[in-house]
């Protein structure tokens, strides 16, 4: 027969014991230990040893034992003696006077296992949900960090979602896009591109790729590649599309620029080579092939040293590489060799090309064939050298001619009674072309002044010829002054017809009835400065001597009185130029120059004239010899 305790424990799963003040258990129910899977101890059983779940609740236990509390419960204790058991642990007030409490263990295994199943299912769902949330957040973060606009729609072209790039592309908020149809937000053409309408079958739900131009949120036209994929539904059938846009506007613009640049390089009149960092040629343009005669197969992958002529030493190439490897541009001329062995010169610039990280990846060489220019320069240099030598010879000849002329020609003026004679002569550097003589002739003077056209050795030689003929003519001359110039003209023309001279031949008689008879052969007219200060030109210039044979020259006679001054001069005076290349005779009347220069004596007057000339010329060096002859009748 079963006891009441056994019936309770079997029917209701209730086990109990009493607890005394020493916290020892009185185990009236032998099945409690069996239920807990514990062995019966030899001595008293301490409640905390059998129920460690009560550790920490000692004060609560004491309160029950003392009758201060009706009891408490530790619910759903789980143990695994052989299999999982769950129980609620109760401590009730029992006999407070004795300090005894009743401990009841109620088996709740069935409830606990059921609760665990429910909780397990709930927790599994929560875990799965959390995983989904995390995955969705990951996908959203991934999409939002993508620079490409991304969108997805249902089969009816309604936006289900998009990333921030897409919202920015359309210039709208994400919330203003989701739930709207494509056609509501885009033009019909753009909508077709977004959904792939007309391009793919209905089964593919618009999946595919195309390139279209669409307007962005700012109304700007963008070139876009649409990559559209099928968005699968729960049953695997297409439930919409997901589209990724690649904005290739900048790339297309860059491609156009590169195409233009490529065309420019291909059509360039200069040879262009691109090498890799090691110097291997990766590109050559057609001009390079034309100039060198190499084929693309012979150049691509090879080093430009196939062009090496041997004209430059290792130091030359070392300097070139040091320059470009240090990131600088090398400029210079290189003599290279064509495939057929011909040498040619090139003006070369070699520039390094760096990648985004600053590393040199390529070199580009632009080369211009300067062989013809180089040859021309060589010819010019040779010619210049030749001219320099010839010039040196000429200068030596000039020096010799000048010395000879100085020895041969006597510029001294005689002292003659009845005349005061003075001369001012400023020759240019080198050999002058002015010549004169003043000689006694009876009681008077014979005067000749001339100016040879040109300078240099030939002019000097011509001057000696003029001197020779004028000296010889003077010895036999008795006729009028014009006759002197006519004979001189014929002599010079018959001997040196390509040279000519201007000159005045005159005879000056002294005294109260002084006379100046003269003939002018294209020379500046004499200036007569009267005793009273008036100044005038005498006669006309007439024709140049030596231009043609049979020339006639008029003889002019002018009466003078003591105190009158007569001036003969070469064109160095009327043609003196200032810093602005303007001639004095164009700026002022030469007679005024003489009138302003009149001083007490002949010499002072002539010095004043010379100062006027020099003052007008300023810093400009003289363009011609200056010769001024002065006569004063005494």
């Amino acid at each position: 027969m079963h006891s009441i305790h056994e019936i309770l424990s079997v029917r209701f799963g209730i086990y109990y014991a009493t607890v005394n003040r020493s916290l020892e258990l009185t185990l009236s129910d032998s099945d409690l230990l069996g239920y807990l899977g514990a062995a019966r101890p030899a001595g008293p059983v301490h409640i905390l040893d059998l129920f460690p779940e009560l550790v920490g609740l000692e004060a609560d236990i004491a309160a029950v034992l003392n009758g201060e509390s009706d009891g408490f419960c530790v619910p759903t204790v789980n143990r695994v003696p052989e299999r999982d058991i769950f129980f609620d642990l109760h401590l009730f007030i029992y006999r407070p006077a004795d300090g005894t409490a009743l401990l009841v263990v109620r088996d709740a295994t069935a409830e606990g296992i059921s609760l665990r199943k429910v909780q397990q299912r709930r927790n599994d769902l929560l875990l799965k949900n959390q995983e989904l949330v995390q995955r969705e957040e990951f996908v959203r973060t991934l999409l939002d960090t993508m620079p490409n606009p991304v969108y997805y729609t249902d089969p009816d072209s309604m936006f289900l979602g998009c990333n921030t790039s897409f919202a920015a592309f359309l210039g709208k908020e994400r919330d203003d896009i989701i739930g709207r149809r494509v056609a509501e937000l885009l033009t019909p053409g753009a909508a077709a591109a977004f959904m792939g309408l007309g391009a793919e079958s209905a089964e593919s739900c618009g999946a595919g790729q195309c390139e279209e131009s669409v307007k962005d949120g700012r109304g700007d036209t963008r070139y876009v590649i649409f990559n559209r994929g099928t968005l699968p539904g729960a049953d695997g059938s297409p439930a919409g599309i997901v589209g990724v846009l690649s904005d290739i506007t900048e790339r297309r613009a860059m491609e156009n620029r590169l195409r233009e640049l490529g065309t420019a390089v291909e059509k360039s009149p200069a040879s262009i080579i691109i090498t890799d960092a090691s110097g291997r040629m990766v590109y050559v343009n057609p001009k390079f092939l034309e100039v060198t005669g190499f084929s693309p197969d012979e150049t691509i992958g090879n080093n430009p040293r196939i062009l090496k002529s041997g004209s430059h030493g290792p130091e030359f190439y070392r300097g070139l590489w040091e320059t470009i490897l240090s990131g600088n541009v090398w400029y210079g001329e290189i003599q290279n060799r064509k495939k057929n062995g011909d040498l040619y010169w090139e003006l070369v610039s070699i520039s390094p090309i760096r990648d985004a990280g600053g590393k040199i990846t390529n070199f580009v060489a632009v080369k211009e064939d300067i062989t013809n220019l180089k040859n021309a320069m060589n010819r010019i240099e040779a010619r210049e050298k030749e001219l320099r030598i010839r010039n040196e010879i000429m200068e030596q000849n000039m020096l010799l001619a000048k010395k000879t002329l100085e020895m041969y020609i006597d510029f001294e003026t005689p002292v003659a009674e009845g005349f005061n004679i003075a001369c001012r002569y400023k020759p240019m550097e080198g050999i002058g072309g002015d010549y004169y003589f003043v000689k006694r002739r009876g009681g008077g003077l014979t005067v000749f002044i001339c100016d040879i056209a040109g300078h240099g050795v030939a002019a000097a030689l011509f001057l000696t010829l003029v001197k020779y003929f004028s000296d010889r003519l003077l010895r036999d001359h008795t006729g009028r002054p014009g006759e002197f110039l006519e004979k001189l003209n014929d002599s010079l023309y018959s001997n040196m017809s390509f040279y000519f001279v201007t000159g005045i031949y005159g005879e000056l008689d002294p005294g109260e009835n002084a006379v100046f008879r003269f003939a002018n052969g294209g020379h500046p007219a004499p200036v007569l400065m009267r005793k009273d200060g008036s100044v005038e030109f005498l006669g006309d210039s007439n024709t140049i001597i030596g231009m043609k044979s049979g020339m006639e020259f008029d003889s002019i006679e002018e009466r003078l009185v003591p105190g009158d001054r007569l001036f003969l001069y070469t064109d160095g005076i009327p043609e003196a130029r200032n810093g602005e290349s303007r001639m004095i005779s164009m700026e002022m009347n030469l007679l005024d120059v003489f009138a302003r220069s009149r001083r007490g004596t002949l010499e002072e007057t002539m010095d004043a004239v010379m100062r006027e000339i020099e003052s007008y010329r300023g810093d400009r060096p003289p363009d011609d010899d200056i010769l001024l002859l002065g006569f004063e009748i005494q």
């Binding site: 920490g56 789980n78 929560l126 995390q134």
Partner: protein, 184 residues
């Protein structure tokens, strides 16, 4: 002379499925089961250990209260926490939400046991890619450690990494004068 045994109640706190039961199982039985089984109610495990201390060998018994992880920690009854000397707050490094709940668990525990010792286990470190989130774990450990003076451990119940070290640390702390010990 036989040294007395120090007995401490330690509660395992944290959201569901963070690995509380697995940590206890690893520490007490050196076992690990990949299968997740929800804990219901309270399950007390006992770990006896001998610790060398300056005054001699300490016999320490840790009573590990594995409490079913509930979503809302405020549902925990104070009864479960009552009399606990220490708490191990466990978080799952693969679920950010369990880390943000650390603070709530600590407050709950300290409300009942103001002098209790708190230790944090950032569990499932074997599934956490440090390189993927550089500095993130250090930041967590620094934040909660500084705020509650709690020691933090990177743990893995699966590999056993730092599990014993964590409980040894607690036992060491409980032996100090400030420790909340019960001697039997």
């Amino acid at each position: 002379m036989t040294a007395s045994t120090e007995k401490y109640k330690i509660v395992m706190l944290g959201d569901f499925a963070v690995g509380k039961t697995s940590m206890v199982k690893r520490y007490v039985y050196d076992l690990f089961d990949e299968l997740y089984l929800t804990t219901i109610g309270v399950k007390v495990s006992k770990k006896e250990m001998a610790m060398e201390a300056p005054a001699g060998t300490r016999n320490v018994t840790l009573l590990l209260w594995d409490i079913g992880g509930l979503v809302d920690v405020r549902n925990l009854t104070a009864q479960y926490l009552q009399g606990a000397s220490a708490a191990v707050v466990v978080a799952d490094l693969t679920r950010l939400g369990t880390i943000t709940q650390i603070e709530a668990h600590i407050r709950e525990f300290l409300a009942v046991n103001p002098r209790g010792i708190v230790t944090i286990a950032f569990n499932k470190v074997d599934r956490f890619s440090e390189s993927e989130f550089p500095g993130k774990l250090d930041k967590f450990m620094e934040t909660y450690g500084a705020r509650y003076g709690a020691a933090s451990f990177r743990t893995s119940a699966k590999t056993g990494e730092n599990v014993e070290a964590l409980f040894t640390h607690i036992a060491g702390k409980l032996g100090s004068p400030a420790g909340n010990a019960q001697h039997t």
